[in-house]
Amino acid sequence: EPRNSDSFDFANYHPINEIYAFQDMLVAENPNLVSKIVIGQSYQGRDLNVLKFSTGGTNRPAIWIDTGIHSREWVTQASGTWFAKKIVTEYGRDPALTAILDKMDIFLEIVTNPDGYYYTHNSNRMWRKTRKPNSGSNCVGVDPNRNWDAGFGGPGASGNPCSETYRGPRAHSESEVKSIVDFVKSHRNFKAFISIHSYSQMLLYPYGYTRTPVKDQAELHSLAKKAITDLASLYGTRYRYGSIINTIYQASGGTIDWTYNQGIKYSYTFELRDTGRYGFVLPANQIIPTAKETWLALMAIMDHTFKNPY
């Protein structure tokens, strides 16, 4: 086992206990910058851990980042782990990140669907949903990216518990979703919300449930362009960008549609690397390149959020 977060192997995939241990190490090593908040429990009773990066203050304007809400998208949890270390090492070194953290807090949930993630390691590598049983059905789990109260139950989500895009019996029925909802509502000062998925190389903004453009469409579009340009500057990885409904397909009950409707203007969702060869089974040697290029886009969004208070 690694003795400290420096010796954690960021270039490999890890089971949930190792990621949780890494989080605790990071907190122990950086008590003045990182703390761990347990925002709730998963259906199977696992802690929903959020790392808070803060240099002080009370209820500062904040940025949310989550990875791994779809459990089989392993490169996202791995990238989240890398981001956590990056924030710690770059604070005080990178002027842009330092300026952000001197005024704002960053919250990072690395394993957003812990039951699902555990299940992908132990029973079914291809599992995407939560692990809550559905009454009246043999099929388990809800798609936590269709479970939010934003056009919930509309087109682009399934009412069939056996479907990979099953929306759940009601909005926020999943504790993994409800815990974030409660946390965001009680915090009341999130200015950016970034939810990270894989794969298909896209950076998307709301909406997914309706064709009505968001009122900040022009700004979100131009910021997305800047973010993917910065991302591409490292390895030339090309992303598409736009609203969810125009870029992928109609999807109701999605995370960032809800966050945008809560007043969080800079709401984005990423789809990380698609090599055209591996899909969800992206080899571990691609974790760090993926995380590194994504970090550039994250910085573009975080920097813009910092410089454009609202």
């Binding site: 995939y13 990979e164 794969y199 571990a284």
Partner: protein, 95 residues
Amino acid sequence: KETFEGHQVLRIVAKDEGQLSLIKALEDMSEFELDFWRGVTDVSTPVDIRVPFHSLQSVKIHLEGQDIEYSVMIEDLQAMLDKEQEEMVSAARRP
């Protein structure tokens, strides 16, 4: 532990909107037990589908019958998962 012996992931590219609708229709063919890794979006964007071994022949015949182009993105999913597992284990053993 669920295994995926013989499962393939097909990357399908539609030529036009008509073909796109035919690919979309596969979503409703529950007997194939398909897992859409990348769903149907537009003509310029490929669709990736994990196809269980028991459906492979039928799905391929179905696509070929409609003149829909596809390539095999992952030849044997389980082989790839075995390799992933092996790498994790050997990484964990490294000092």
